[in-house]
Every structure is written in structure tokens, then in C-alpha cells.
Amino acid sequence: MKKLALLFVSAIVLMSFAIPGDGDKIPSATVKKLDGSKINTNTFSNDGKPIIISFWATWCKPCKKELDAIAENYSDWQKETGVKLIAISIDDARSSTKVAPDVKTKGWEYEVYLDENQDFKRAMNVNNVPHTFLVDGNGNIVWSHNSYAEGDEEILYENVKKVVKGEKLSH
């Protein structure tokens, strides 16, 4: 009987949960800006324009290749679509001090944050870096891709343009 009651209560609890959401929003986690201030990731926004979220690390060669490749065309991308790239470094205390020097030397114009103990990485269910997400103007995560191959940045940009036009994406 006790079990039955428990079942009854859990069913009600589950039912109240089982209402579908209207989209995958950026989850909440605390990351650090390069100036040391903390920010909640659910406040990431770009005035109704799309956002690229790219997880990387200073020791990850393909990650830097991808960010370098995007950097070559980033100002054009911004002009054409208003897209913004947010680079999330998952470097821990061993190498997180290398992030700012790396970004500066490379001349990357991205918004860069530190996710030192990987709370945001966990919240976004990232297995390995590089992992890139595309967020539409309404803040819904609409596309993601793991790893980097030469030319992936062009596929990413095609998707950015589709998102701006309001088209649906496939992997």
C-alpha cells in the first residue's frame, strides 16, 4: 500500500514535469570573463542575432585550427549576419592562465570565457572538444557539431545564414 501511495505521488510529480518545453535554451552555469568577473551563461545574448558557442582548450590543436579558420572571415560573418562567437575555454588551472595570452597573440575578436572546472561543459553535455553549438536569435540551441575537419567552418557559416533566414537545419 505504501508503495502504491508512493507510485501515486510520483505519477503526479512526473505528470507535472512531462510538459514539453518550447526549445533548448542555454543552460545556467557560472563562467569567468577574461577580466575576472563572473557571468551566468543563461544571460548570453546577441540582440536577436545568432550566437556560435565554441568549446575549446589551449592544448587542443583542432580547436585552435577551427577558431583560426573562423577568425579569417569573422568580420565578414559579423557584417553579413550579425553573428557573434563565444569561445568557452575548458582549460583548468594548469593552463587557464595561457588563455588570455593565446587569444591576444592570435588576435581573436571573440568573446572568451573560462570554464575552469567544466560546469558549463557538463551543462551543455559536451564529451570532447572542439564542440560547436549554434544558437538562433530567440536563444534556442538549434545545431551542434563535435570535432573539426578542414572546411567545417564553411558548413557552420552556411548554417548561420540559414538560421538568419529562419530555415530549418539538418546535421
Binding site: T105, N146, G151
Partner: protein
């Protein structure tokens, strides 16, 4: 329904249910308005171990082995909960066997975060400062997981101010550590806290932490401290181009297996400073560690039950041969530092050519601390066993001096070229013994050439050549036999790999590592390897066959040997 008390029980359960719903209703009502999601990820790594007498793979009973995990997270507005299922039947070669032959849910949590408050019950990961006093984290690739099971509250009373408090026990394989941890951390960002300072370009952040562990004393011969406290302070001063960070931590007497039950106190100092502008940066880091192994179970070894984290400051190398002999922090004592200089030669200059050149110079060196043994009979009161001179160095442990050059030759061709000179005192650093017979010092010169040719949009071929020239020394070799002289000496290696990416969904890899100068002729082996990877969105599937050389993995200041392996491997990972 044969229970005689049925009506009474029913009444009671209905009453309880209704009360429960009434209490919970406002909460759920709020949740129902919020966006709800179920998300997760998983990874399964499988291997089939072949018996390969040439490379000396260990004989195993079970040829088929796997490591698997899956995370499921549910979020509803400010509320989230989730769990991770793990399974190892048996665990793959090279991982700690204590995980083996078990499946279960070692990680589950519920978390509520709203504006200035963030509360977690269950398992969580946390880091205070750079981790010198406390860091719980996971590295799934190494099966390192010291998640805390307990309760944590984070409070942001004002912009720029953070307080964290936690209590719990750490994960130790499938159970929890013997000791209980309590921790508190506070941090103030002055420029954010005071509006008047908002426009100041230089930021000042001050933090402090206190951690305490309690573990009962069951030792029959020693009177051990049950409570061990550790506290730390940190300062970060930074602006647009300059960054200075320093953290100091102090631990009271904490006799443990690792420090051979010395009652001496422990200290750690970590300082790092960098200057960066467009196209140029310098980073200098230094650290001093004495007796800072801090575990929630004083009798544990290996990578188990660490409360704190001592970052290794050597460069984490991407190329395999650069990382044949990796360095790990020495919790018992080390002094050292590293320097990084990065410079971009501008495009259009004589040297820079059409696309410019990226230069990166890195050097790091670490020594032991300068210790003097104290005769226990002369130190009965304090039982420190040794003293340390903080202003001088002990035995040399490691150095790594390397230069990396990145150059784009044309729109199609770019390359990375690297040279490193390394030294490692591996008997001490990786095996914790002064005996060099099996683990000689290794002096090495390493070269890498990595060239990518993008032959059309979205298609590329990459070639990676690595050369490892090793010189193995055991110190005084006069008394060693011929067999002892070559023990632990694998001579020099050359590696060639090709990677073909016809479309961004497929990767084909062919590789051979050749141990061409092994002092034993029958060990001059080829370690061949072939692999295919398919990527589709967040999903990755990788199949490979080949030989893997015996290697060393380091985590949390401890290294372990990963044995040689021959056979098939299949890995599948995705997220949803």
C-alpha cells in the same frame, strides 16, 4: 488489497499525497511555466585485446572490455536534476581495476539556482581558487572522478561577491571516502562591488578559502590528527593586457601514507603573471610545494581521494612523442616554473611572408625541495621526519624547452614544426623510487613536422612526422649487468601518420610508430595503427585496429603505466 487496515492506510496515503501536492504545488506551478528539457550525453569505448607477445601485452582473461557512461539531465527553469550511469565489465586495460566488473549510478544530483542563490544536493564538482585547497573534478578519459556527495550552497549577496559552502564525502571508485570534507570559500571583485570603481581599468579580486577534513583515527601505533585544516588566500590583479595571480595555501600536520606519516605542516605557493598585446605575449609561472598531498583518506594512494589539486605547469603537449615522458606535480615537494613567449611575425614582412608566422617558445624546469632528514629521536614532540630549506633546490626532476612554429604556405598548405629538448628523472617523478635500474633518467630531443594540404574545399590530407631521440642514463652504471643497463631503455622512435579527410564527416588515419633503435633487436618493432572516424553533428563513431605502445598517463599529481595493447577498438559518443 487483502490488508485489513486498507481503509486507514488509504486514508493516510491520500492525505499524505494531497498534503504533498499542496505543499509542492506552488513550486511545480512555477516550474510548469518554465522551459523544460531532458538532455544528456554518452560514450562507450570498447576494446578486444589480442595476445601480442612481441609488444608484451598483459595476458587477460577477458578479451572484450569496455568503459561506458551516460548522463541524463532534466532542467526546468531554475531547477535541474540528473544522474550518470557508468559501466565497466571489465574495465579497459590501463585503468584502475577497482572500477571493474561493476555498473551503477555513482553520480546524481538536484540543483536549484535562482538569482543570488545556488543550492545542490547529491553529487557536485567544485573548485576553490586554482584548486590548492580544494578541487573536485572529473576526467572521464582518465577515469578520474573525486565528486563530492553531500550538500553545497553558493550565495551571491552582491555583484562581485561570492560565498561558497559545502560538506560531503568524495567518490572513491564505487563507494565514498572514509573522511568527511567541509569547505568554505569567499571571493570579492572590488571593481564590481563598488560602483565608483566600475570605470577603473585595473581589476582587483581577493579570495580566501578554508577546508577541513575529519577522519577517525584507527591507527594502533600512532596518535593521528582526526581533523586536518587547510586554508588559502589568493589575489588577482589584472587589466586589458596584464594579469597577476598568486595563491598561497597552508595545511596543518597531516600524516599520511604519501608523506610516510610525517607530522610536518605543508605549504604551497603558486604565482603566475602575464603580459599580452596583439601579436605578442609573455607568461611566467612559478610554484613551490612542500608536503601538500591532501586527501580525504590518509591511507589512500594513486589518484584516489585527493581533496586539492596541484597544477603541473609544464606544457600539456598535443603531439604523442612530446608527451612520452610527461611530468606530474609532486605533492611531497617541488620547486619550479615555466615561461611562455608567443610572437606573431606579421604578414607582409620579409620573414612573415604572405600569411605571417606564429612562434611559441616554452620552457619549464622543476626540482625537488632541498630537504634534510631529522632523526625521529631528536624530534619526538613534533615527528616531522624532515626539514626543508625553501630558498634552495633539491634534485632535478624535469625540464622541457620547446619551440613551435606555425606557418601557412599558401591557401592550401599549412604546417606546424616543433622541436623539444626534455629531461626527466622518471624514477622519482613517475615511480616514487630513487632506484634508477628499471627507470633510468631520460634525455631526449624531439622533432615534429605536421603539414596539412587542403586539396579542395572540405577535403584535406595531413601528414605528421615525429622523431624521438632518446638517451637513457642510470647514473653510475659501473656495477650494472648488461641486462640491467637496457632495462627501461627503449632507445629512439620515429612515427609517421597520414590522415585523410575526404569530407568533414569522415577521417581515415594510418600510423606507424617504429622503435628503430631499441637496444634489444627483437624489440625493434613497428606499432602500426589504422582508424576510421565518422562524425555527424554531435555523434562520433571511431573504429580502429593496431598496436599501442606502453605509455604513461598522469592525473592529479600521480602517474600510472598504461600497458601495451593490440587489437580492435570501437568508440561511440553522442549528446542529445
Amino acid at each position: 488489497m487483502k490488508n485489513k487496515n486498507f481503509p486507514a492506510l488509504l486514508k493516510r496515503s491520500i492525505f499524505l499525497s494531497i498534503t504533498g501536492i499542496c505543499i509542492a504545488n506552488p513550486f511545480f506551478a512555477q516550474l510548469n511555466n518554465a522551459v523544460q528539457n531532458v538532455h544528456g550525453n554518452f560514450q562507450i569505448d570498447m576494446q578486444n585485446c589480442e595476445n601480442d607477445t612481441a609488444t608484451g601485452t598483459p595476458e587477460v582473461n577477458e578479451q572484450f572490455r569496455y568503459n561506458a557512461f551516460g548522463n541524463v539531465n532534466y532542467t526546468s527553469g531554475d531547477f535541474s536534476m540528473g544522474f550518470r550511469y557508468e559501466s565497466y565489465n571489465p574495465v579497459m586495460l590501463g585503468f584502475l581495476s577497482d572500477y571493474s566488473n561493476r555498473s551503477g549510478i555513482p553520480y546524481r544530483y538536484a540543483r536549484y539556482r535562482h538569482n543570488d542563490i545556488d543550492v545542490t544536493v547529491g553529487n557536485f564538482y567544485e573548485q576553490f581558487g586554482s584548486g590548492l585547497t580544494l578541487r573536485s573534478y572529473e576526467d572521464r578519459g582518465l577515469l578520474y572522478d573525486n565528486a563530492i556527495d553531500g550538500f553545497r550552497a553558493i550565495y551571491y549577496p552582491k555583484k562581485g561577491v561570492t560565498f561558497k559552502g559545502l560538506v560531503g564525502r568524495q567518490r572513491v571508485f564505487w563507494g565514498l571516502s572514509d573522511g568527511v570534507i567541509k569547505g568554505f570559500d569567499g571571493e570579492i571583485n572590488f571593481m564590481e562591488l563598488f560602483d565608483t570603481l566600475n570605470t577603473v581599468k585595473t581589476k582587483v579580486i581577493l579570495g580566501g578559502s578554508f577546508v577541513s577534513k575529519f577522519q577517525d583515527d584507527k591507527n594502533p601505533s600512532l596518535v593521528l590528527p582526526k581533523n586536518v585544516g587547510c586554508y588559502g588566500g589568493r589575489l588577482n590583479v589584472l587589466n586589458e593586457s596584464f594579469n597577476f595571480f598568486a595563491e598561497y595555501a597552508y595545511k596543518i600536520n597531516d600524516p599520511s601514507y604519501q608523506n610516510q606519516y610525517s607530522f610536518k605542516d605543508g605549504q604551497a605557493l603558486y604565482i603566475t603573471s602575464s603580459y599580452a598585446q596583439k601579436g605578442f605575449s609573455v607568461l611566467l609561472s612559478g610554484k613551490y610545494i612542500d608536503n601538500m598531498s591532501y586527501r580525504s583518506d590518509r591511507d589512500k594512494q594513486s589518484t584516489v581521494a585527493f581533496i586539492n589539486f596541484l597544477p603541473a605547469l609544464s606544457k600539456p603537449h598535443t603531439y604523442m612523442m612530446m608527451a612520452y615522458y610527461p611530468y606530474a606535480s609532486q605533492p611531497n615537494g617541488e620547486v619550479g616554473g615555466s615561461a611562455d613567449i608567443q610572437y606573431k611575425i606579421k604578414k607582409g614582412t620579409l620573414l612573415g611572408g604572405k600569411y605571417g608566422i606564429d612562434l611559441s617558445l616554452n620552457a619549464s624546469v622543476f626540482n625537488g625541495t632541498d630537504t634534510t632528514r631529522i632523526n625521529p629521536a631528536e624530534d619526538i614532540e613534533r615527528q616531522r621526519k624532515y626539514s626543508v630549506d625553501p630558498f634552495s633546490f633539491g634534485t632535478k626532476y624535469f625540464h622541457d624547452i620547446n619551440l613551435e612554429i606555425g606557418k601557412k604556405f599558401s591557401k592550401q598548405v599549412k604546417g606546424t614544426f616543433m622541436y623539444a629538448n626534455q629531461y626527466i628523472n622518471q624514477s622519482v617523478v613517475q615511480f616514487n623510487t630513487p632506484d634508477k635500474t628499471e627507470h633510468p633518467d631520460v634525455y631526449s630531443n624531439i622533432f615534429v613536422a605536421d603539414v596539412t594540404w587542403r586539396y579542395k574545399t572540405g577535403s584535406a590530407i595531413r601528414s605528421e612526422t615525429q622523431l624521438f631521440l632518446g638517451n637513457y642514463k642510470k647514473g653510475d652504471e659501473g656495477h650494472l649487468t648488461e641486462a640491467e643497463k637496457i632495462a627501461g631503455n627503449t632507445g629512439s622512435w620515429i612515427t609517421q601518420a597520414f590522415e585523410w579527410t575526404p569530407t568533414s564527416k569522415w577521417f581515415f588515419v594510418l600510423m606507424d610508430q617504429f622503435n628503430y633503435s631499441n637496444p634489444l633487436d627483437y624489440k625493434k618493432l613497428h606499432y602500426y595503427y589504422a582508424g576510421i572516424t565518422h562524425v555527424s553533428g554531435p555523434t562520433r563513431i571511431m573504429l580502429s585496429y593496431g598496436r599501442q605502445r606502453q605509455g604513461i598517463f598522469c592525473a592529479g599529481g600521480v602517474c600510472r603505466i598504461v600497458p601495451a595493447f593490440t587489437g580492435f577498438q570501437l568508440s561511440i559518443s553522442s549528446s542529445f
